[in-house]
């Protein structure tokens, strides 16, 4: 009873605080803009904690944030090992290989308008497919260690990056290309000095989409077979043991990894595409 009332109060307080900040005179300052969603997030976590107490929710169904935090602290080394297996070896390797391959194919296809017109629709089609379903096939071909996960990730990130890069290379205006022709510039100078820099906003769009796909691919692929380490592995086995707080702990790590990875790419994007209207 008390806990429920407390939860309502916390929610109300958080909301009121945010209303004051959002409609107040300082609402445009970066500090305030970061504070508001943070307050929202903290409020949600507090309410969650209080409601789990209030309704005595079975920890198997929904553990309290405090127990999740505790689990993270206790299982640090194991979480780190899982992180290395899934994120560093599986997701990042696949991301790099898939991205480089997509980039290479995009440049090759760029020399032929015919190929570009074929690749864009086929690539967009492939990007919408449930590629994660190929995970068992890759495990059969490459074994259950991180290589098969990297392969799934590579295929998953290949198509969005390819499609975005090809679209970006197409995007330069006729006038810009004519200017290059008046300089007698051949294919490579035009590519390196004009079309690649102009394509960067598109390329980064693809790279950002690919970060989430890489994580999902690596974790879900581990459901199909993994050595005794890895986030997907840990999630499914902890789940089988009804250790839900461990499951959630892995999810928190995955969430941090996901937003960290995405944030890193966004930072690089800001530096490379500083000139684009959306960044100014």
């Amino acid at each position: 009873m008390m806990a429920t009332v407390a939860a309502l109060l916390v929610w109300g307080a958080g909301w009121w605080l945010n209303v004051r900040l959002a409609t107040g005179p300082h609402s445009d300052r970066p500090v305030v803009r970061a504070l508001i969603p943070a307050i929202f997030g903290i409020t949600v976590i507090l309410v969650w904690e209080l409601l789990v107490w209030a309704f005595e929710i079975n920890p198997v169904i929904l553990p309290a944030p405090s127990s999740i935090a505790e689990r993270i602290l206790v299982e640090g080394p194991r979480l780190w090992a899982d992180f290395q297996q899934t994120i560093i070896k599986g997701a990042m390797t696949g991301y790099v290989f898939g991205g480089l391959a997509a980039f290479g194919v995009a440049i090759l296809a760029d020399r032929s308008d015919f190929l570009t017109r074929g690749i864009l629709p086929v690539g967009s089609f492939m990007a919408a497919l449930p590629i994660v379903g190929t995970a068992p096939i890759f495990v059969k071909w490459l074994g259950s260690d991180w290589e098969s996960k990297a392969a799934v990730v590579a295929v998953m990130v290949f198509f969005p990056i390819l499609v975005n890069t090809v679209a970006g290379l197409k995007d330069t205006s006729a006038m810009q290309r004519d200017l290059m022709r008046t300089y007698g510039a051949g294919y490579w100078p035009t590519l390196l000095k004009l079309r690649l820099p102009a394509a960067m906003p598109f390329i980064f769009n693809g790279l950002k989409i690919a970060t989430t796909l890489a994580l999902i691919g690596s974790i879900v692929a581990e459901f199909f077979g993994s050595p005794t380490v890895g986030m997907g592995f840990r999630i499914s086995t902890s789940f089988g043991q009804l250790a839900l707080d461990m499951v959630w702990a892995e999810i928190v790590i995955a969430a941090l990894a996901g937003s960290g990875f995405y944030g890193a790419i966004t930072l690089i994007e800001k530096r490379v595409t500083f000139w684009h209207p959306s960044q100014r």
Binding site: P37, F125, G133, P136, L215, I219, I235, A255
Partner: protein, 306 residues
């Protein structure tokens, strides 16, 4: 339609690559079987063959190459095998049979569509809220963007089991996952779309002293159409993937995901491959339908997409 020939060429190239890869991928298994059937295989022993590459083995045993295209448990089935299996399980079975891909397709599709509908409607509501309420904009929108970077998909099977243990099974839990996966792309896309009219357009409405509601229905909503369609297409394919993943290692017995797993576990790769392709075709059909609706709608609105 001048893109038809390039598209066909790219598809033909992919098919060709596939057909060529069948041989080295399957030749080791075929060689083992051939030895058991007392055909001549070079080299003679499995251990000697282990050191030979797929290509090398194929070149030394060209009489075995046709067998790689019809092998019962291939590492890489040939296109015609997959097509055959799909034909059998789509047209050759009664729709209600547990072996029919149509049945499994419906088991996967129903919660996908339901969840997509729920997720999209809620998403549009939240987007309107974000655009018209500064508090919601500043507190919720950052989380909406961040949530897209979190691989929640990994939780999908868990949600199914948890709800199952509470007695909630069947359509609802899977719809929940689909709804979640389509929710955020729709929110983000719709917010961008509702905010897309430029300052000049908005000023014009102010000179008419238009109310917020009038501004919404006459300007913001129509202007958001292209963005909405883009998000719908992302949302529907995400929903489908979500439902499939939710069917995975939780002992589900029906649906595309379940079939992919069953094929893998019972040593019937063709079942897995057929399910995978059927899922792919379903995804393509769904995105295709939305693209068609998009083209018709935008054309009638004079906003024909390039």
């Amino acid at each position: 339609m001048k893109s038809v020939l390039p598209i066909l060429t790219v598809i033909a190239a992919i098919l060709l690559f596939w057909v060529v890869c069948v041989v080295p991928m399957n030749i080791h298994l075929v060689a083992d079987q051939a030895q058991r059937d007392e055909l001549i295989v070079t080299p003679q022993t499995p251990s000697a063959r282990q050191d030979v590459s797929g290509v090398g083995l194929a070149l030394r045993n060209t009489h075995l190459i046709p067998l790689t295209y019809n092998f019962v448990r291939p590492n890489l089935p040939s296109p015609h095998q997959v097509a055959g299996e799909m034909y059998n399980t789509i047209f050759g079975q009664k729709i209600t049979s547990k072996r029919s891909l149509v049945y499994h397709g419906w088991v996967t599709l129903a919660p996908t569509l339901l969840g997509f509908l729920i997720g999209t409607s809620l998403g549009i509501f939240l987007a309107v809220g974000i655009v018209y309420s500064r508090v919601m904009d500043l507190s919720v929108m950052p989380w909406a963007i961040v949530s897209q970077t979190i691989p929640i998909l990994a939780l999908a099977p868990m949600v199914i089991v948890v709800l199952g243990s509470m007695g909630i099974q069947g359509l609802f839990p899977k719809s929940l996952i689909s709804a979640y996966l389509s929710f955020f792309p729709v929110v983000v896309g719709m917010v961008k779309g509702l905010r897309s009219p430029d300052a000049m357009q908005l000023d014009l409405l102010r000179t008419y002293n238009a109310s917020k509601s009038q501004g919404f229905w006459t300007l913001r909503l129509p202007a958001s159409a292209p963005y909405l369609f883009a998000s719908l297409k992302i949302g529907i394919s995400a929903s489908l993937v979500g439902t499939i993943v939710a069917e995975l290692p939780t002992g589900a017995r029906a649906g595309f995901g379940a079939r992919m797993l069953v094929g893998d576990q019972y040593g019937q790769p063709l079942v897995s491959w057929a399910a995978l392709f059927a899922a792919a075709i379903t995804a393509a059909a769904l995105v295709g339908i939305f693209s068609l609706i998009e083209r018709i709608t935008l054309k009638r609105m004079g906003m024909a997409a390039t």
